[in-house]
Symmetry: D2
Subunit: 336 residues, 4 copies
């Protein structure tokens, strides 16, 4: 049994991560920190952990572990990276701090720049693109939820030089904002919205740009679900037929345990929809051509799973030499 | 045109009140105060007021008016009652401060007691029970939303001495909690709940006890809607038949503009449901007998309308000599 | 009082229309037909009509009126147009039958073609673009809900030849599908979806193409609300600045009673969102430039109001010589 | 590996059951029948089964198995019981056909009566009350979802003769009605309801009466969630203190794997709420005393899990000699 700890276990991502780790057969959770909740039962914040007996401790009391997850607020990882490195040989970061390697890109989207050496030390936590590097890495940064959907759904086109005029429309549920995000995220004001909160220049766009090596324009709308992210992308693909496009996706993803091509000519479940992925670690992808040189590329995932905690555990499995799908086989709950 | 002002126009009740008043043909809104928002456009908080041109002012700058609505947080009215009285001959209070007349009852449910003279100065703002007094009153306290549903649905039985073993089950949407009510009310945590947050002794119970003169036990559950309150009450009615019960309700409410008896033997809309009352000032009531000496009494309303702002405008109409239904005839939006 | 009748008053659009007409000061509803519901109270299908006393009659029993609304299923208008014309000098059609004038376009999107003379006899029911023609018309066809949002939000650009590379992303709530639309639209399966049900070639696209005279690609996603439509369009505008774009919209829409430019630099309500338009006849539009030659154009409306019944009443007002906003001033209910 | 088959695998309960069985380490699904879907992929109806390769077959083609689940519509089990018995030594029934043993009770609530011998042959599928009998049984009838919540939450009181004046308020989400249940259950009409659809005499009441041996009155309200059932019961308990009541529950349920006592003095998650049980096989129970001789007893569960498919698998585990919790340890997804 490997020993793992979670720093910042109070938020939704932390709760999801703990749910996965507590039921994971290959690891033992040695500590969960939250400076504001220290001493309290973890189940008081996360009901799925009822009966786990876990209690929050202070970060200062953290002891050595085989791997530490950093799931605090954005900006916190950069501050505690050195201390954490001293305690654990391997780190999986769930904040945005080290998702971007390119300093100029980071500065443009985030308004600040990290020291280059640290940035380069983190591998992007997408096993589908970087399995080998993650397996060997000591530091992995899990990408943003919308970036994960966009990147995985577009990677087969990028790999073949087919990404032209990329327009990403991203939609996100409320759990991406956390529980303490103010009046605009209150139930009364957030229910039923189609709130375009980032017409351009959302930070996840930077990750897509860097990962795919292509310019893009991403618009983000807050939609009424709690969980779930979807990206719907229009792209110019020229003369390539839908059949050929589907073949590319099958070729790239046939062996992937967590990416499925969803493209049914009829029925209720024709294209990727996060509705059917609740609790699942899958990213469903789909592509349709319009016979006029354009394709619609869709990606969907559970933002707390494949878009955060599930993706993090998938990386952990690789980093600790465990089977990649270990603890991640829940197929999704439907209907909810 | 009568001149009216709203003190505390930042919350949901204030917004609803302003929506009604701005479109009301008999009054003019002379001021809306919010000390934290002073100077800002009211429409920045309440989109239905787009184009109204209203701006928040400070309470200290309030000028004389014919009637002032007090829609601040609970506890605020007691503090500013004297000053407000100096500015306006008539006051409609939407806080809980003066809903209870009986000092002991107030102390038991609220933990504090008001000076007796002030308490007696407020008439309970339920025109269906106190139309004459409201018409003549200078001070009216609008009852709580769940209390309004419970009182109106049970009053015909109370008037006939038929209220025995009263068990009230109240359900309430999230808009009753305001936009700034913390993580438990965030969209992610409040969506889909059936959260029993007051198993016993909710404050609105005190109003029911005082208004109907009967002991009761009220349980409150937070349900997943934004708007809407429903009370479902079981009561022992003995030998009285459903037919007789219905006749009592018809007798009492036939002439009421905002209370409807809803009791259909079949169809989708058989009993009172707040779902069909969004934006309406109606309180729908219904009663069914179980042939074993018990009846189920249902009440439903839009908590921001008949349960707060709509009820307040109805009282204002009476107090200012305007037609009672003026500005309140919107029939409800359905489906939403 | 003008006499109006509604053919096909069983569905959601019919219910909304009746709610508006019953409270409209300038008209009297002389008949509501539904062959399957004949004899039943209209309020059994539409609770907001409680107390109206209206009953469904058969279409065969329809008597002459000043204006008839045709709100049956798509395809029904073409069948009864001649008979209806014999009964009423003016017709407002809410089905899709006569929305498209161009026969080839109709055939491509609908698979059938109408006789040309009939098609040319209908004016597109968008007062913002065709006020004069509607005022003089005997036959008006109300556009589709998503088409209305797209057309109104893009018209200022079209008028200035600035529509290039138009990619429309349309989102629609469940009330657009009617109450009897099968398992995929059941509450359990429709809740929380982001269901891309028309990746390309949705029929409303044909209306946009014809109205704006520009090719476009529209994708439609079913989103989790009951009411509400939003279109989010990316368009290449070249060198034009956001300031100039906003000025164009202000110029075109400043005098329009039901189109508002919504574009706030901060706050919860920055761009058009149907969430704040429930029950309102407004179409909110907004535009943002990305400094890279593209703009994001947003439109939002209540699909049963401005997108159907409200738009129809607006046209009726013009056709009958009534004030255009008569019966349509409800500002929207918020929050719901 | 035991061989199990599912008869009637098209509905929500069938889908949930298949999800559990496909991932269950001790059984193999040999057939899923649906006469209307024969030949189609099961994943076309149930997306969580993507990749399972299962196809629907006809019931007539069913081959022998160790255990058969009957998950068809209510009334179907009685018709096929003999044939099914010939194919499998053990049957778990998820319909309502054999939930009631008492013929008179069955007749009163269902309007029909079964032959006595068959009724007596089924054991009530509640391991918490009948573990030994289920382990030895060949036929088990899984109770209704609301009945399960009511019975489990009240059993400790019933066992001690403390059930007096029992008033059950039951709330249920839309998945209990199936996907093909007509317009009233369409998304537009079912969203946001508080629809009292059974003021008295709901069929699940009969199960509570028989299981607890006490008269009761149960009211059922359709609430806006997709999944989840809650029962909130008021009961006269006389002089017993809350402390003593809690001790009774702890005593009875301490060793139960799927019943938890939830009763926190503070926090967001104080009492049983189905919101936190999505996908879990737990039934959470809670009890609060009001110091006036009454207690409020709450039960909550996921109606497709502990209230149907999960409960059925728990019974199967006992009947086939497998560990009782096998395949049922998912702790619930939260927030959703």
């Amino acid at each position: 049994m490997k020993r793992v700890a979670v720093v910042g276990g109070r938020g939704f991502v932390g709760g999801e991560l703990l749910r996965l780790l507590v039921h994971h057969p290959g690891v033992e959770v040695t500590a969960v920190t939250s400076d504001t909740q220290a001493g309290k039962a973890v189940e008081s914040a996360h009901p799925p952990l009822r009966g786990s007996g876990l209690r929050y401790s202070r970060r200062a009391d953290l002891e050595p572990a085989d791997l530490v997850f950093l799931a605090g607020v954005h900006g916190s990882t950069a501050k505690i990276l050195d201390e954490t490195t001293a305690l654990a040989p391997k780190i999986v970061d769930l904040t945005a701090d080290f998702r971007i390697e390119d300093g100029a890109l980071m500065e443009r989207y985030y308004g600040w720049r990290r020291e280059g050496e640290h940035a380069r030390a983190f591998v992007r936590g997408l096993p589908e693109l970087h399995r080998k590097q993650i397996t060997d890495a000591n530091r992995v940064a899990v990408p943003g939820c919308m970036a994960t959907s966009a990147i995985l759904s577009l990677a087969p086109l990028a790999a073949r030089g087919l990404l032209q005029e990329v327009q990403i429309d991203a939609r996100t549920g409320s759990s991406g904002s956390g529980a303490s995000s103010g009046p605009a995220n209150s139930h009364a004001l957030r229910s039923g919205v189609l709130r375009v909160f980032a017409p351009f220049d959302h930070r996840h766009e930077a990750e897509v740009v860097e990962a795919l090596g292509v310019g893009t324009s991403m618009t983000v709308t807050a939609t009424p679900q709690v969980r779930g992210v979807q990206t719907v992308t229009k792209v110019a693909v020229g003369e390539v037929s839908e059949r050929e496009l589907l073949a590319m996706y099958r070729e790239d993803y046939a062996a992937e345990p967590f990416v499925r091509l969803v493209n049914s000519p009829r029925g209720t479940y024709r294209y990727p929809d996060p509705k059917v992925l609740l609790g699942s670690n899958h990213c469903d992808v789909g592509i349709v051509a319009d016979h006029r040189g354009r394709a619609l590329v869709m990606g969907a995932l559970d933002n707390l799973m494949k878009g955060a905690a599930g993706g993090a555990v998938q990386c952990m499995n690789l980093m600790l030499g465990l089977p990649e799908t270990c603890g991640l086989t829940f197929p999704g709950l439907h209907p909810v």
